[in-house]
Subunit: 157 residues, 2 copies
């Protein structure tokens, strides 16, 4: 902690650079997967694959499912994307950009993004108490959204 250069740059971590630095290769697939993750706010591997198929059209070839998984894992290791487990099913991926907090309704599954500073106080407390560093990008708060709370109040009086 000694002053970050910039709050958040235009395209923060240069994909190509990250790859070259590690002797890895910049492929169309990797660019497309990353783009898809950014485009879909919260996408499961399956949804990301589906989107890539849609973008590719009938004749254009989309990355294979296995490639999507492999690429997501890679991108995560490069720090370009993060994943979170929201419900029972598949994890959702989101671009690392500026960190944000996920809030998920257990009933309807709706996802909201919240200002991460919401947890700053708690995070500092954990750091001071346990030396534990909270990774805000990974955090998801579960609960019940307003709509579902009212709905269940109506259905079960």
């Amino acid at each position: 902690m000694s002053g970050e250069p910039a709050p958040h740059e235009p395209d923060a971590p240069p994909l190509a650079a990250q790859l070259r630095a590690r002797g890895l290769r910049l492929t169309t697939q990797r660019q497309r997967v990353l783009a898809a993750v950014s485009a879909l706010e919260h996408g499961t591997p399956e949804e990301i694959g589906a989107r890539l198929r849609a973008e590719a059209g009938p004749d254009g070839a989309a990355p294979d499912t296995s490639t999507v998984y492999r690429t997501l894992e890679l991108l995560e290791r490069l720090g370009l994307v993060w994943h979170t487990h929201l419900g029972k099913g598949a994890p959702v991926y989101h671009a690392a950009e500026h960190p944000h907090l996920h809030v998920v309704c257990q009933e309807c599954g709706q996802i909201s993004s919240v200002d991460p500073t919401l947890l700053d106080a708690a995070a500092e407390r954990l750091a001071a108490d346990l030396g534990f560093t909270v990774d805000v990008g990974h955090v998801a708060l579960s609960g019940t959204c307003r709509a579902c709370a009212e709905k269940s109040r109506t259905e079960q009086p």
Copy 2:
């Protein structure tokens, strides 16, 4: 919010009562699964099943895997257990008892339980802002524990 009767009773929600109230039946399997969840602090469905097998011994019959899953779902709906997704793998279940917050290290997987009041401020903020009710029992904070933070500092200077 008008004063809770007691901070936490000896055996808060009576399993049998919960079942009878809904016309459901009290079976050995259900009692055993609940007991196993309590015994294992944080158990995956698989681990819970394994423990039941072990408890049953060579000749005693343990609940089937599918029964474990069905029962966990039921117990959760009854409010007796909660599940949380810690890593990529399976969800972990824990007895509902008094609520506590889970803090998980992404590297070593170690789980710590923290005072849930840590999130009270954030929870109230969400309630006021979005009408969203945070379910503290479900929440898991991911990050890096002190040990792992120091370890990676040593290995990559």
